[in-house]
C-alpha cells in the first residue's frame, strides 16, 4: 500500500468518524427514506407495488416476478447465503438492472436518489432493524483468463456437480431443472449459462459472487464452503467460455 493511499484511507476514516458513521461503511450509507418514497412512487411502484409486496400493476406481466421486499430476501449480494445485502449490492442492482428480466437499469437516476430509494425499500422488512448484513465476500484478484484456467474450471464444474441443474453443457437443462421452485413456490429455471449476458452483471466478479454467495430465495446455493478462491476464478473462466464472453477486467490483460 502506498503512503498516498494510506493517507487517503486515514482521511476517509477520520471523516467517517466525524460524521458518526462506520468508517468502512463510507459507501454503505442508505439515503433519506422520505425522499426515497417519492422516488419509489415514481419508478418502482408499478411493479413492486405500494407496500413493496411485489404485486404492482404490471407484476402479472413479468417473469420472474418483481421482488417482494417484505422478507428482506435478495438475490444479488456480496454477503453470505441468507443474509441481507449491503447497500452497495442494492445500489448495483438498481443502477445496472437485472438483465433478462423486467428490472431496468436506473443508471440515469442520481446516485443519491438510488440511495434514498434503498432507504425506503429498507422500511418494508423488519429484518433491516434486527439483522446485520454481515461481511462481504472478499474476492481474490482475478488471474489471467487462459485455456488452462478454463480446463481447470471445467473440472470444478464437474466436481461441484453444477450439471445437476445447469446441465452438462451449461444450457440449464440438468436432471433437476424441471422440479425447481423458488421460496414463494413459483417454478424457476436454472440459468442457461451459454446465453452470454449474465443476470447479475457482466463482470467476472459478478459471476464469482453469484456462485459463492448463492441467490437468496432461489434454489441456487452458495458454494463458498466447497470452492476455493483460485478454483472460483477457474470456474468463472469456464462459464464465460460457454458463451465466448470474458469479463471486462481480463480483456485488459496483455498476453
Amino acid at each position: 500500500m502506498s503512503h498516498e493511499l494510506i493517507k487517503h484511507v486515514a482521511m476517509a476514516w477520520m471523516l467517517g468518524s466525524a460524521m458518526c458513521i462506520a468508517p468502512a461503511a463510507a459507501d454503505e450509507r442508505a439515503g433519506d427514506p422520505r425522499r426515497g418514497a417519492e422516488v419509489y412512487q415514481r419508478y418502482c411502484i408499478t411493479c413492486h407495488g405500494e407496500r413493496g409486496a411485489g404485486i404492482g400493476e404490471f407484476a402479472a406481466y413479468t417473469t420472474p416476478k418483481p421482488r417482494d421486499f417484505r422478507q428482506g430476501t435478495f438475490k444479488w449480494r456480496s454477503t453470505a447465503s441468507g443474509s441481507l445485502p449491503l447497500v452497495s449490492d442494492l445500489e448495483r442492482t438498481i443502477r445496472d438492472g437485472v438483465y433478462w428480466t423486467a428490472m431496468p437499469s436506473f443508471y440515469p437516476l442520481r446516485e443519491q436518489a438510488r440511495r434514498d430509494v434503498i432507504a425506503y425499500i429498507q422500511t418494508f422488512s423488519a429484518r433491516w432493524k434486527s439483522d446485520a448484513p454481515g461481511l462481504p465476500l472478499q474476492l481474490a484478484p482475478e488471474p489471467a483468463h487462459t485455456p488452462e484456467s478454463v480446463t481447470k474450471g471445467r473440472a470444478v464444474y464437474e466436481k461441484q456437480n453444477c450439471a445437476q441443474c445447469h446441465g452438462d453443457r451449461g444450457t440449464g437443462d440438468g436432471p433437476a431443472a424441471k422440479t425447481l421452485t423458488d421460496d414463494w413456490g413459483n417454478t424457476i429455471l436454472p440459468f442457461d449459462l451459454t446465453k452470454g449476458h449474465m443476470k447479475g452483471g457482466t463482470s467476472g466478479a459478478d459471476l464469482y459472487r453469484v456462485f459463492m454467495t448463492g441467490l437468496n430465495g432461489t434454489p441456487m446455493p452458495s458454494f463458498v464452503e466447497s470452492i476455493a478462491p483460485d478454483e472460483a476464478w477457474d470456474l468463472v473462466h469456464y462459464i464465460q467460455s460457454l458463451s465466448g464472453r470474458q469479463s471486462r477486467s481480463t480483456q485488459k490483460v496483455k498476453p
Binding site: A80, N161, C165, F223, S226
Partner: protein, 246 residues
C-alpha cells in the same frame, strides 16, 4: 457471601441495562426451573395407515443406485407396530419460563441415500446443527425459517460437514434440497429443553420437568397439531397419549 454475590450481580445488571430502555423491566430472565418429573408421551395413529408411497429417484443416478434393492419410501407418514406414529414432534408449548442454556453438542442432520436423517428435528435455539453429506452427489441444504435467518448451501462433496446455528426459537419450518425435490426435513427450535420426536414405538419422553401444569403440543407433518394440558407433581412420572386420526 450471598450479599456480595447479589451486589455484584445487581451492579453488573444495572451497568448492562443502562444502555437499554429501563421500561423493558427484567433484563435477564431468571434461569428456567427443572426437576425430576417426567412425562412419557405416546403418539398413535388410529384407523388404517396409508400405504407407503415409493419415491421416484431416477433423476439422479447416484440416488437411484442407492435404492436399487431397497426402494425409497416417503417419510411423510411412518407407522410402527400397533399404530405407533413415528416422527411426531412433542413439546411443552406453555408452562415453562425463564432461560435454559443451549447445549453445545450439535444435532446432526445427515443427507444419506438422498434422504434426510432424521426427518424431524427438535433442537434448542442456539444449539449447533451439524449438517453432513454422506452421499457422493450434490445436495443443497435449504432451510426456510421465518424468524431465523435461512440459508442455502451447496454440499457437493461426500463427507462434507458444516455447523450452523438458529439463534431464535421458532415453530416448525421446512428444510428442502432443491436438487432432489423429494428430500424434506422439518426443524423446530425451542427456548427450553422439553421436547422430543417420537421414535419407532411412537414414544417421546419429556424428562427433568419441574412440578407444574404444561400445555403439550404434538405436531405431525400430515396430521397437524394436538394440544393437551398435563399437570405433574414434583418427581411424578405420568403417561399420556396423543391419538391422531388416520
Amino acid at each position: 457471601m450471598k450479599r456480595v454475590i447479589l451486589f455484584v450481580s445487581t451492579a453488573t445488571t444495572v451497568a448492562l441495562v443502562t444502555s437499554f430502555s429501563v421500561s423493558r423491566g427484567l433484563a435477564y430472565p431468571a434461569q428456567g426451573a427443572t426437576g425430576a418429573a417426567r412425562i412419557i408421551v405416546k403418539v398413535m395413529l388410529s384407523g388404517t395407515a396409508p400405504a407407503p408411497t415409493k419415491v421416484q429417484t431416477s433423476a439422479d443416478p447416484y440416488c437411484a443406485k442407492s435404492h436399487q434393492t431397497d426402494p425409497l419410501l416417503s417419510q411423510t407418514v411412518q407407522v410402527g407396530a400397533d399404530g405407533a406414529l413415528i416422527d411426531a414432534l412433542v413439546f411443552v408449548k406453555d408452562g415453562v419460563s425463564g432461560s435454559y442454556p443451549a447445549p453445545q453438542t450439535p444435532v446432526t442432520l445427515d443427507q444419506k441415500g438422498c434422504v434426510y436423517l432424521p426427518h424431524v428435528i427438535g433442537m434448542m435455539a442456539g444449539q449447533p446443527l451439524q449438517i453432513v453429506n454422506s452421499d457422493a452427489t450434490l445436495h443443497n441444504i435449504h432451510p426456510m425459517p421465518v424468524v431465523n435467518a435461512g440459508f442455502n448451501i451447496g454440499m457437493p462433496i461426500q463427507g462434507m460437514k458444516q455447523n450452523r446455528v438458529f439463534t431464535k426459537p421458532e415453530a416448525v419450518f421446512h428444510v428442502k434440497c432443491d436438487v432432489h425435490p423429494w428430500m424434506s426435513a422439518y426443524i423446530a427450535t425451542f427456548a427450553h429443553p422439553f421436547f422430543g420426536v417420537s421414535d419407532g414405538k411412537g414414544t417421546v419422553e419429556l424428562a427433568n420437568l419441574p412440578a407444574g401444569t404444561f400445555q403439550l403440543q404434538a405436531w405431525h407433518e400430515k396430521y397437524g397439531v394436538q394440544v393437551q394440558s398435563v399437570s405433574v407433581a414434583a418427581g411424578e412420572i405420568k403417561s399420556i397419549t396423543f391419538t391422531f386420526k388416520g
